[in-house]
C-alpha cells in the first residue's frame, strides 16, 4: 500500500477506535477492596435515561484472571463495564457470573460475548431465561427505548451451579453458591474470602425495597441462612456496600413483618385486595421504591401464604 494511504488508514482506524471509546465511556466504579471494583446502580426503575443501569455490577481481579459479577441492564451498560475493566487491567476476562436472570443483571451479557468469557449462573438460569427472555425483551422495549433494546440478546449461561462451585482467578478463589427459590428461581451468590465481601445479587437489598419474584417463604429462609455466612460486608444487588450480617437483619425485618401481617389477614378472612392495602406498610416506609414494589410483594406473598 502506498505510504500516504497507509497513514490515512492508520489515522482512520485511530479515529474509529477513539469514536468507539467515546461511544461507550467507562462507568464510575469504586474500589471497595484491593482488586474489587463495584459500579453502584441507580436506585430507580430501568429507563432509557439510566441505560438500564439500576443494578450493582462488579469485577474482581485475581493474579491471572478477572471475574465479572452481573453485566448490566443493557448492552450499552455491558460495553461500558467492559471499557471500565480494560482501564484497570489487561488480564483475561475469564468469567461473567450472573447472580440471577432479571434484565438489570443480564441484559449486558452480549457485550462480553466476544471476549471469550465463560458465562456462569444458577442451574435454573437457563430455563428461567428460556421462559422469560422473550417476555423481557418485549416488555422492557418501551422502558429502555428502541436503540437500547435492539442490541440486546438473551444469552444463557455456558456453565451452571447446582450447589457450590469454586472459581480460581489466580491466588484468589471465589465461592459461588446456588440457592432455592427466594428473590427469583435462579439466585446465586459469590463470596470473595480475600476481601471478606459477599456479592449477594438480589438475595440482599439495601435501601431499595426487596422485590419478591420467587417465593416469600423461600426469601425468608435463604436470608436467614445467608446471614450465617462468614463475611464482613455485602455488595447487594441494589444499594450501597453494607456491613454484614446487619443488612440481612434489616431485610428480615421487612419480610417477617410482611409475612406476619399477611398471615393475620388471611386468618381473619380478609380478601386479597384489602389485605395488600395494609400488610407490611409500617416496615415498607423504610425502603425506597416501595410505591413500585411493596403491594406487589404483598400480592405475591398473600397467594403463597394462602396455601400454608
Amino acid at each position: 500500500m502506498p505510504r500516504r494511504y497507509r497513514l490515512l488508514s492508520i489515522f482512520l482506524s485511530c479515529l474509529a477506535g477513539g469514536a468507539a471509546l467515546a461511544q461507550d465511556p467507562p462507568l464510575a466504579v469504586e474500589a471497595v477492596a484491593p482488586g474489587v471494583f463495584v459500579h453502584f446502580g441507580q436506585i430507580e426503575l430501568m429507563s432509557e435515561a439510566n441505560e438500564g443501569g439500576t443494578a450493582n455490577l462488579a469485577f474482581i481481579l485475581g493474579n491471572s484472571a478477572v471475574a465479572v459479577i452481573d453485566s448490566g441492564g443493557s448492552a450499552r451498560q455491558g460495553r461500558r463495564l467492559l471499557a471500565t475493566i480494560r482501564e484497570h487491567t489487561d488480564l483475561p476476562l475469564a468469567f461473567v457470573i450472573n447472580t440471577h436472570g432479571h434484565p438489570d443483571h443480564i441484559f449486558g451479557n452480549v457485550a462480553f460475548e466476544e471476549v471469550g468469557a465463560l458465562r456462569i449462573g444458577h442451574e435454573n438460569l437457563e430455563s428461567f431465561l428460556a421462559a422469560r427472555g422473550d417476555y423481557y425483551l418485549r416488555s422492557f422495549a418501551q422502558q429502555l427505548g428502541v436503540s437500547l433494546i435492539e442490541e440486546i440478546r438473551i444469552l444463557p449461561p455456558d456453565e451452571t451451579v447446582a450447589h457450590e462451585r469454586l472459581l480460581d482467578l489466580g491466588d484468589r478463589t471465589l465461592r459461588l453458591q446456588a440457592w432455592p427459590s427466594a428473590h427469583s428461581d435462579s439466585d446465586l451468590t459469590v463470596l470473595d474470602s480475600e476481601s471478606g465481601i459477599l456479592f449477594a445479587g438480589d438475595l440482599i437489598f439495601v435501601e431499595h425495597i426487596p422485590v419478591i419474584d420467587g417465593s416469600l417463604l423461600g426469601y425468608l429462609e435463604v436470608t436467614r441462612e445467608l446471614s450465617e455466612l462468614q463475611a464482613q460486608q455485602v455488595v447487594p444487588g441494589h444499594g450501597p456496600l453494607a456491613p454484614w450480617p446487619d443488612a440481612a437483619q434489616k431485610q428480615l425485618t421487612y419480610l417477617e413483618a410482611l409475612a406476619a401481617d399477611l398471615r393475620a389477614e388471611i386468618a381473619k378472612g380478609t380478601p386479597l385486595e384489602r389485605a395488600v392495602e395494609t400488610a407490611g406498610n409500617e416496615e415498607a416506609k423504610h425502603w425506597a421504591l416501595r410505591e413500585a414494589y411493596h403491594q406487589r410483594n404483598a400480592t405475591v406473598g398473600y397467594v403463597e401464604l394462602e396455601w400454608e
Binding site: D134, G269, L272, E273, V300
Partner: protein, 269 residues
C-alpha cells in the same frame, strides 16, 4: 360457550400475527356480538357491580369482585355472568352460571390482565334480559408472564384443592348467607410463553371448567380460560340448603378431572 371460546381462541392467533390494534370500543363490539348477537345490553349499574383495582399490583393476579345489586325484594335473579377483558389474548375470561337457589350475591376471583384495558361484565337475568357494566384496569404482561412454579412442580401439585368457610360478620349475618372460598392448584398455562431456546411455545394447560355443589344443588359453575390466574380461586356467598357436604368438580384441557368433597359447618341456630 365452549365453541365460542375456541373460536375466539383462534381469533387470538390471528390478532397476534397481524398485530392488529383496536380503536377504543371496536374490539368490544365484535366480542359482544360473538357472545350475545343482536340482544340488547341494558345499563347494568343498578344490577351488577364490577370491582377491580384501577392499577393492578401484579398483572398476573388481579382481584375482581362481582356483586349482585338487585334489592332483596326484587323477584329477578342473576343466572349467568360473563366476564370479558377486552385486550387480553383470550378476552372471555369466564362465564359463571349461578345455581337457581344458590342465593349468591358476591363472587370474587383473580385474573390475568395483559395490557391497559376495558373490562366488561354482562349479567343475564332469569327473565332473559342482559345487563352490562364496565371498568378500566391498568396492568401489563399478566398473560405472557411466566407461571410461578416450574412445570415439573406444577405437574406434581396440580389438582390439590383448598376450601375455606368464612365466619360471617355478626352484623351482616341477617342475610342468612354463608361465605366460602375454593381453590384449585393449577398452573393455568396460557400457552403464550415461548421457550427462547427451542422457540416452541409452552403448551396451554388450563382449567376449563369448575363447579361447586352443596349436596345436590349447584351453587356455581364456571367455564374459563387462560385469563383466570394460576391456582384458580373463587370466593362467594350462598344460601345454605341444609346439606352438610360441599363438592367441587373441575376439568382441565389435558382431560384431567378433579373432585373433592368437604363437610360443611352448618350454622347453629
Amino acid at each position: 360457550m365452549r365453541r365460542q371460546m375456541r373460536s375466539l381462541g383462534l381469533a387470538i392467533g390471528f390478532l397476534a400475527i397481524s398485530g392488529a390494534t383496536a380503536t377504543a370500543g371496536e374490539l368490544w363490539s365484535d366480542l359482544a356480538y360473538d357472545l350475545f348477537g343482536d340482544r340488547s345490553l341494558n345499563d347494568g349499574s343498578e344490577v351488577l357491580e364490577l370491582e377491580m383495582p384501577v392499577r393492578a399490583q401484579d398483572a398476573a393476579i388481579v382481584p375482581v369482585t362481582l356483586r349482585n345489586l338487585l334489592p332483596p325484594d326484587d323477584p329477578r335473579e342473576i343466572r349467568q355472568i360473563t366476564l370479558v377483558i377486552e385486550k387480553n389474548p383470550a378476552p372471555v375470561a369466564a362465564e359463571f352460571t349461578i345455581g337457581p337457589d344458590a342465593g349468591l350475591r358476591t363472587l370474587s376471583t383473580r385474573v390475568r390482565v395483559e395490557t391497559y384495558t376495558d373490562v366488561y361484565a354482562v349479567a343475564e337475568l332469569d327473565d332473559g334480559e342482559l345487563y352490562l357494566v364496565e371498568t378500566f384496569v391498568k396492568a401489563s404482561g399478566g398473560c405472557a408472564a411466566p407461571a410461578t412454579r416450574n412445570l415439573q412442580e406444577a405437574r406434581a401439585t396440580a389438582g390439590q384443592m383448598q376450601f375455606r368457610q368464612f365466619e360471617r360478620d355478626p352484623d351482616g349475618a341477617a342475610d342468612g348467607l354463608q361465605e366460602i372460598q375454593v381453590q384449585l392448584r393449577h398452573p393455568n398455562n396460557s400457552g403464550l410463553q415461548m421457550d427462547q431456546l427451542t422457540r416452541l411455545y409452552t403448551p396451554a394447560w388450563f382449567v376449563d371448567s369448575l363447579s361447586v355443589w352443596q349436596g345436590e344443588d349447584l351453587l356455581l359453575s364456571m367455564e374459563g380460560g387462560i385469563s383466570i390466574s394460576e391456582d384458580p380461586t373463587f370466593r362467594f356467598d350462598y344460601r345454605p340448603n341444609g346439606a352438610d357436604v360441599l363438592r367441587v368438580e373441575a376439568t382441565d384441557t389435558d382431560g384431567n378431572r378433579f373432585e373433592r368433597e368437604w363437610r360443611l359447618q352448618t350454622a347453629e341456630l
